[in-house]
């Protein structure tokens, strides 16, 4: 009895393994006959077969979907957008380094110019102002200044 149950269980699992190939008609003739014979006797395997068939049937239902009627319109819009950005990016690719090089050169030139202008007049200005102060001091003696205050 135990061996019968065991062998029957073995048969179930071996049949279960073959069912997907049975549905796709990929079993040898002998195997196919054996599966069909088992299916006639076994309600559980028949139930699993119908479950499997319904699952595989889902693929048939999903196959060949209706494509959106605006598919090409949307694609054309994306293509145009891409081409626009491509031409734009080509311009940007050329113009950007040129612009930054110019800015850099202008910066360097400006810096040099400012540097050369800024150093000499400052010294001159300082000397002139100190000279002026000295000269003022010389031109206007302290006595006359105090007299003016009074």
């Amino acid at each position: 009895m135990v061996s019968y149950i065991k062998s029957n269980k073995m048969k179930h699992s071996s049949i279960h393994k073959d069912l997907i190939f049975y549905i796709d008609n990929e079993l040898s003739v002998e195997r196919r006959i054996a599966v069909e014979k088992h299916l006639e006797e076994c309600a559980d395997c028949r139930s699993f077969l119908s479950f499997l068939q319904e699952e595989i049937q889902i693929i048939e239902k999903e196959k060949k979907p209706e494509v959106s009627p605006f598919f090409f319109t949307r694609l054309s819009a994306r293509l145009e957008e891409k081409q626009f950005y491509q031409t734009q990016s080509q311009w940007v690719r050329l113009a950007q380094p040129a612009f930054f090089s110019l800015v850099l050169l202008a910066g360097i030139y400006g810096g040099l110019k400012l540097g050369s202008n800024a150093s000499s007049p400052k010294v001159n200005q300082q000397t002139t102002s100190s000279i002026q102060m000295l000269n003022d001091f010389a031109a206007e003696p302290i006595e006359s200044f105090l007299l003016d205050e009074l």
């Binding site: 279960h16 393994k17 069912l19 997907i20 190939f21 796709d24 699993f48 479950f51 499997l52 319904e54 699952e55 889902i58 693929i59 239902k61 999903e62 196959k63 060949k64 979907p65 494509v67 959106s68 598919f71 090409f72 949307r74 694609l75 054309s76 994306r78 293509l79 891409k82």
Partner: protein, 193 residues
Amino acid sequence: MDEAQLINGIQQGDHKSFQILVETYQRMVVNTCLGIVHNKADAEDLAQDVFLEIFRTAENFRGEAKLSTWLYRIATNRSLNLIRNNKRKRFFQSIEETFTGGRNRTSEISENRNDQPDRNITDQQRSDLLHRAIDRLPEKQRIAFTLNKYEELPYQQIAEIMEISLASVESLIHRAKKNLQEQLLDCYKKKCV
């Protein structure tokens, strides 16, 4: 207009040739992507990416393989890339959820469910079950199985698309069916649907 003329036209930037190509192959490309990603909107977006890539790289097409083989190859690669990106996103989302307490997940699931509102719940459940089982297949098995089942392609053409031998395709599809059956049997025993 034959394939060579079409490609020649596209290589010269002729929009009419491109339109003919798209109208001839759009259904095939959408169907292939749909078989892998299981979402119509995603499949259409992917199909558009495929055609844009064709337009952009048409000059590289030397005519050694059939145009459809080239299209299938790009379509499967792009679909797999989308799945990989989604997996990456889900991984980061799961990390985020551990901090936010999973508030964003429910809304995403309900969005996916509303993809085909006219289908009844049992059909939807069956379909979800099948998609989950297909998604769990290793990538190569999934591609071979999808091309064979959704596009009804012969093994020889699948071998050309995947650039593998005919024997490898046979083995991949055989293993894919076995794996699929095991998963469905497991679910049948647990009464998932």
